[in-house]
């Protein structure tokens, strides 16, 4: 609840966002990962690039919105690419991969169906790592102003004079 919780206020400069589209990520070089269609790319400074790519997929599987592009999930978890958190995140993602391998997948990202990945997450949802990632996403994802239009939410309205002349009672289907 405290706004200090979770990764927030991340610098857009850390991120090289090229365009908006969806697609699973892959590693394109040391410390540099990108979407398969080059829709986004991020510089990873501390985490293993594979770890970060898995974390992004985990974030989408926790709060899947098909109309929200990967770049926003990247922004939401970028704060974990941090020396203070690296050990915990590497261990958490390693556990995720091990659980996936235990179910016959080639790691978490190797599980092609969302339902298979969600099964893995359900089995670890009480863990501190899962709860940290999920809790951080509540603000890290949904408090990004750039995703609000996807939900139709209009945000700040005072500077526009409120809605008194802009449809506060314009419902027409009742």
């Amino acid at each position: 609840m405290n706004k200090a919780d979770g990764p927030r206020g991340l610098s857009r400069r850390q991120l090289l966002v090229r365009a908006s589209a969806v697609g699973a990520s892959f590693v394109i070089g040391s410390g540099f990962i990108a979407a398969r269609d080059a829709a986004w790319a991020a510089e990873v400074t501390t985490l293993k690039p594979e770890t970060f790519a898995t974390l992004v997929q985990m974030a989408r599987d926790i709060y899947p919105h098909d109309r929200i592009a990967d770049e926003f999930y990247v922004i939401a978890v970028q704060g974990y690419d941090n020396a203070d958190l690296a050990e915990e995140v590497e261990a958490g993602i390693a556990a995720l991969d091990a659980a996936a391998q235990g179910k016959g997948h080639d790691g978490y990202l190797g599980a092609g169906w969302e339902r298979d990945r969600v099964d893995i997450l359900r089995n670890m949802e009480e863990s501190a790592f899962f709860q940290k990632v999920r809790g951080g996403l509540v603000t890290g994802l949904y408090n990004q102003k750039a995703v609000w239009p996807v939900f139709g939410y209009e945000g700040e309205s005072y500077s526009k004079g409120g809605y008194v002349d802009r449809g506060f009672n314009d419902i027409n289907w009742l």
């Binding site: 609840m1 706004k3 899947p64 919105h65 939900f151 939410y153 809605y163 506060f168 419902i171």
Partner: protein
């Protein structure tokens, strides 16, 4: 002597807290010529400072000093360090409140008599009644400019209200309207009318909603009789060997411990901080804390039976546009035990923005069941359910000596578990709330659990008999004649209604009493 006052001036009344209780009391006393020092833990924020952004505003206004929780309420699991969503600022939670201004129903002043014995509940009648409170309610309504009272018009309904109203009528509800709100429908008291901006919870940038921050506080200061000391956090209330309070020790804005002498001390820090201050003031003479000979300080914590119902429709609603709490159904507020519970509840529209909806719709939930709901945000309508909860001695605020705040003071632990009556009422309210929306074609409804509490009541309750509570009918502590409680913690029972109007009415009445007793030389 005019404000500012000297620390050694022992003729002043010290009011702790500047919200609906303390802010109003401080101004009312100042208007009567009484010298008042108001100690406010928070800073001063005015309409130009408020922000139309849920988390940013939360960071600006909310009380986030450490607290701990226990009990079986879900808030203790999902928001363990944040039992209440209240404000730390000049004006207190009157910056955040929705504005609903309802009088208690006459029978609610006499809950023990009306409901009879309820197992596990510490019900008690208030030592005052509807007739006694009628003129004070009228003064409070006129101060706040409450719509639909004393000839003032109502607010227009927004989209969220129009959905709610149509469903209510379809269900046969008749007491349905856009509320009695302390939000101007037209110019009133030098404040603008509502511009349907939304963000009522983040502080009204138009000043259309009444808040003590920009009404009572500056008016009190303008008399020269009120000094408000911001960012002043009270540590303890001091007393003399005769057991009368003599002053208040507090950390000032620079973190230095100060001692303000006082003729009278009035405590209005909301229902966690007020008992915490009394308990943290324990001494050799009062080992269980001040005004606690009954053992009732901190007990009988009430937070209202609450919950929400959100619903998705096949077409847009855009509930966030306009007044956050835009209308009410009052048909279920009656006492009718045939429903399976005593007391009643109100249904009031409510809207959250997408950031808070993500945090509060179903805390802890994840996956497509959750995200598919948020995906329909534009097509959602919402209501809040608020009803009378049962006082229980074991629901209480205590000191947690294992956790201290930034001043090294033990924090409040808030223990709460629902009474079976609360659960029965909530289940009934969830069912009726869903039915309202299904009557207008909802395709999916969500029985949303209670948020961190905004209505915190009862931890220094009013009682006829000193054995049963902490304060008498004037809010004066039974044990210490010059120590008063001036906030919602003095509530004997919670009633179904949003508490602010009653807190304001009691504060106006208390100011009248204190000034009269001072003039008579009794205080």
């Amino acid at each position: 002597m005019a404000a500012p006052f000297d620390l050694n001036d022992d003729t002043v009344v010290v009011v702790i807290g500047t919200g609906a209780g303390g802010g109003v009391l401080a101004n009312e006393l100042a208007q009567k010529g009484v010298s008042v020092v108001a100690l406010e833990a928070g800073g001063r924020y005015l309409p130009e400072d408020y922000v139309n952004d849920e988390w940013e505003s939360f960071g600006q206004l909310a009380w986030v000093d450490p607290r701990t929780t226990s009990g079986d309420w879900r808030v203790s699991k999902d928001f363990s360090g944040l039992p209440a969503w209240i404000v730390k600022a000049v004006g207190g939670t009157t910056t955040h409140w929705a504005g609903a201004s309802l009088r208690f129903q006459p029978h609610e002043w006499k809950a023990a008599t009306t409901y009879g014995a309820v197992q596990g509940a510490s019900l008690l009648d208030w030592p005052i009644d509807a007739e006694e409170m009628d003129p004070w309610y009228a003064k409070a309504e006129d101060k706040l400019g409450v719509t639909r009272t004393n000839g003032r018009p109502g607010l227009p309904g927004n989209n969220n209200y129009l959905v709610f109203e149509k469903g209510a009528r379809a269900l046969g509800y008749t007491d349905v309207h856009t509320g009695r709100m302390a939000i101007n429908a037209e110019d009133f008291d030098e404040r603008a009318p509502c511009q349907q901006t939304g963000f009522c919870f983040q502080g009204c940038k138009w000043g259309a909603k009444w808040s003590a921050a920009y009404t009572d506080i500056p008016r009190g200061e303008a008399t020269g009789n009120l000094e408000v000391r911001e960012r002043s956090h009270v540590a303890r209330i001091e007393h003399d060997p005769d057991g009368m309070v003599t002053g208040v020790e507090y950390f000032d804005k620079d973190g230095n411990l100060q001692m303000q002498k006082a003729r009278i001390v009035c405590v209005a820090g909301n229902s966690f901080e007020s008992p915490r201050m009394l308990l943290n003031s324990a001494s050799a003479l009062f080992p269980d804390g001040l005004a606690n000979s009954s053992g009732q300080v901190g007990r009988n914590y009430m937070r209202h039976m609450t919950g929400s119902v959100y619903a998705v429709f096949d077409k847009p609603v855009r509930m966030w546009r306009g007044t956050t709490m835009a209308g009410i159904i009052q048909d279920e507020s009656r006492h009718d035990p045939s429903r399976g519970f005593v007391g009643g509840y109100e249904m009031e529209t409510l809207a959250l923005g997408i950031p808070f909806m993500a945090a509060f719709l179903d805390p802890g939930a994840w996956g497509r069941e959750f995200t598919s709901a948020l995906d329909q945000y534009e097509n959602m309508a919402g209501m809040w359910l608020v009803g009378e909860d049962m006082p229980q001695e074991t629901n209480r605020v205590t000191l947690n000596h294992d956790v201290t705040d930034q001043w090294g003071l033990p924090v409040a632990n808030v223990h709460f578990s629902d009474h079976p009556n609360d659960i029965a009422m909530r289940n009934h309210a969830y069912k009726q709330g869903a039915a309202v929306y299904e009557a207008v074609g909802a395709t999916r409804t969500f029985p949303t659990p209670p948020y961190p509490s905004t209505h915190n009541l009862g931890t220094n309750r009013m009682s006829e008999n000193p054995r049963d509570g902490v304060v008498n009918k004037w809010g004066q502590t039974h044990d210490i004649a010059n120590l008063f409680i001036s906030d919602g913690s003095q509530f004997t029972t919670g009633a179904a209604e949003n508490p602010t109007l009653t807190i304001v009415a009691l504060a106006i009445r208390q100011a009248d009493h204190i000034a009269r007793e001072m003039s008579a030389g009794n205080l």
